[in-house]
């Protein structure tokens, strides 16, 4: 067989398999049950407008707090990680490895229940504050590693040029290295942001007040209330509406940086 002919036959086989699977699904699925359990229009309507004004709003709010809190902490951690002073490096490395090695859920439970019970700690902002503190702590470990990579990607000649002009170490970091590093890490930071959006759903583990529920908590409550999964689909749609544009943005930024090289 000639190569092109064989290629066509292979493609034909693949499409046939795909068609067969799709047909099988369509025939076997219980469409009435699917519609009733996942796409109930009455229930979908009853979610309105809380799913936006409470769920989506809180998801975005919690993500922003966790992200910018984490970013601020991460700048300090990354600079410690690259410090010429060894104990700073050890501390930062220990922190980063510790929190990257733990499930975020575990940290949230610790911060929300274990630590308040053990030490009588009253987290600012109540239980949500405790959950957010956990998210900040975990996010900062990941963001710090991203920042460190970005700082190290700034050519050494930049520091040398600044120092040769008489700029001090801290000034060089602030005015020359960090602005360039931040530019380099915008795409990976946006990725961290998307991951955080999804991680805010972990706050569902700690019971919060009605007005403080984010998308997943809201959806789960509504699911139990209605014995119906339509709220899950609604929440999923909300997540995608938020995350898809961001992942597209990351892809665009990465293409742009590739071209600028």
């Amino acid at each position: 067989m000639r190569r092109t002919t064989r290629h066509k036959v292979n493609l034909g086989v693949l499409y046939t398999v795909l068609l067969a699977v799709v047909l099988l699904l369509v025939l076997l699925a219980d469409w009435a049950a699917v519609q009733e359990n996942f796409f109930d229009p009455e229930i979908a309507k009853s979610l309105w407008p809380e799913i936006i004004t409470v769920g989506a709003k809180n998801t975005i709010l919690y993500t922003l707090v966790a992200f910018f809190g984490g970013l601020a902490l991460a700048v300090v951690l990354a600079l410690m990680r690259l410090s010429p002073i060894a104990p700073y490096r050890w501390l930062a490395t220990a922190y980063i490895e510790f929190f990257r090695g733990l499930p975020a859920l575990l940290v949230i439970i610790a911060s929300g229940f274990a630590i308040p019970i053990a030490f009588g700690w009253r987290p600012p902002g109540g239980i949500v504050g405790a959950g957010l503190a956990a998210l900040i702590v975990v996010a900062s470990a990941y963001i710090a590693e991203t920042l460190r990579a970005g700082i190290q990607a700034v050519p050494k000649g930049q520091t040398e040029a600044a120092r040769s002009l008489g700029m001090s170490g801290p000034r060089t970091t602030i005015f020359i290295v960090l602005p360039q590093a931040l530019r380099i890490v915008i795409p990976p930071l946006t990725n961290e942001f998307v991951l955080l959006i999804k991680d805010t759903s972990l706050l569902a583990i700690i019971g919060v007040a009605v007005g403080e529920r984010e998308l997943t908590t809201l959806a789960r409550d509504e699911l139990s209330l209605n014995s119906n999964s339509t709220p899950l689909i609604a929440a999923a749609v909300m997540y995608l509406v938020i995350t898809l544009p961001l992942t597209q943005l990351v892809a665009a930024l990465e293409r742009k940086q590739q071209r600028a090289r």
């Binding site: 040029a161 600044a162 008489g166 700029m167 360039q180």
Partner: protein, 253 residues
Amino acid sequence: MTSRITGAQPGARAIEIRDLHKYFGDNEVLKGIDFHVDQGQVVCVIGPSGSGKSTLLRCVNRLEEPTSGTILVEGVNVIDPEVDLDEIRSRIGMVFQSFNLFPHLTVMRNLTIAQNRVLRRGKDEAVEIARRNLEKVGLAGKEDAYPAHLSGGQQQRVAIARALSMDPDMMLFDEPTSSLDPELVGDVLEVMRDLATDGMTMMVVTHEMRFARDVGDKVVFMDGGVIVEEGAPLDVLRNPQHERTKAFLSKVL
């Protein structure tokens, strides 16, 4: 050319290096260098790749940490831990092979940032000085461009203007034309020639033998971490005394 340091007089030592040793790990890269540059002098350092030229140059403003020896810049030992290194560096202009302009800043900001942050000059004064130096290197009108939009030759001239904007007492050049397309080399050399004519003290690591011959007051030939031979450019380049110098020059001339 006004010197920021009072009492600097022509003929005095601008840079004096005594018995300088530098190791990278176990690798001895500078093996006892004695060397000096006088005020207003242009000293060209030549030699094969890996001979330690850049390392020597970078020890002068301590971008490399010397292992032992003495480095006096206008009489001040830069190796002294008590010394204000940033202040000394601000008086020594440095130009790199790879330009090292700040890519996130405009040309103007490249020229003013250290004036603001190090010399504490006000905005208007810094901008005024920057404009003057841009004009000097033939790039008036490029104030708002970003480095990426300039040719290599233009970038290197901006880098020279950036160093000049600090009103340095001396300038260090590390192969300033080596990464340039041949047709762009001339513009940069011309700027350097003008600087020399203005009386700037210059230490230049270069492979441009014509520049060394025409502009240099002294040529230093390095090989294997030592200074093999030094003297007036015509003597060293036309009539080298050492075999190693002859072998090197026969390859590059």
